[in-house]
Symmetry: C2
Subunit: 165 residues, 2 copies
């Protein structure tokens, strides 16, 4: 039973990691489909531009580094543009080519860390919850954050796929 | 260790079930925001109507009953309209009020079943994979399907939230 349950936990953690990676891959594939300028268009009239959503998703993934205690953000400058500001509120944003590069670097960095994390670490608290609060709410663990981020990526992937490029 | 790992597995299963339920709740809240006729509009020009996506998500959730070996579909008639056909391909589709009722009934039925399922059952194969194939691909379990369905719901929730009602 010990081995079986341990295997079960490992298996589920792997499944969640795979789901996250699959969503990353979907987004990457979408941004490799057209010429860069196509992503400067809005996904629908008066909605976010595709390039903004790429920056947004990159900033959200980058934020996992400090949230999981894995290090500092690689591109802290993205936060102001893509997390704190709405699309078109800031005139000068990085290019599609630049963001695609950052998106890849963030995801590769995260994947390398994730490959080394044990199931116990996944089920431990993230840095935004205190030890005391975590005792009361043990679901505030890293794996839960990754599930949430995977769902969030898919939310925007659905929007991106509406783009008439 | 046995208890800890068993608890870990239970906890992750609960987290995945909670994520699925939270996505259901988002969709329900969205369809309670406006008058029914608002959902007859397209989410963006020449894209799916909101009502179609409600039927689509209901049919997908309904399909979990046979896929998890929990019984027959409640509304098999939705499959032809919302899974096998694109929006507007079929002239007469159920009303928003009717679909909202079916959506609730399907989700309540599923939740009642899910409450009784053990972690071992979640990690067992679903009915679309044979026992032999499952030995080779143990990730083809029910929990993985639920993760996938949760991601799928969020994909369409992102689109629904573009509706200018």
């Amino acid at each position: 039973m010990d081995n079986q349950n341990s295997n079960h936990t490992e298996r589920i953690v792997t499944q969640v990691k795979n789901a996250w990676a699959a969503q990353n891959k979907n987004v990457t594939a979408f941004f490799n489909k057209y010429e860069d300028e196509a992503y400067l268009k809005e996904i629908a009239p008066d909605k976010n531009r595709a390039v903004y959503l790429l920056g947004h998703l990159t900033a959200v993934n980058d934020n996992l580094l400090p949230l999981f205690g894995l290090g500092e953000k690689l591109y802290p400058e993205l936060e102001e543009i893509f997390l704190k500001s709405a699309d078109k509120a800031i005139a000068h944003i990085p290019t599609v080519a630049d963001l695609k590069q950052k998106w890849e670097t963030v995801n590769t960095t995260l994947s390398n860390h994730f490959d080394k994390m044990t199931a116990d670490e996944w089920l431990d608290r993230h840095t935004a919850v205190s030890a005391e609060d975590f005792k009361l709410e043990p679901t505030r663990n890293k794996l839960n954050v990754l599930i949430g981020r995977t769902i969030h990526q898919s939310y925007h992937a659905g929007q991106l796929n509406l783009l008439d490029a």
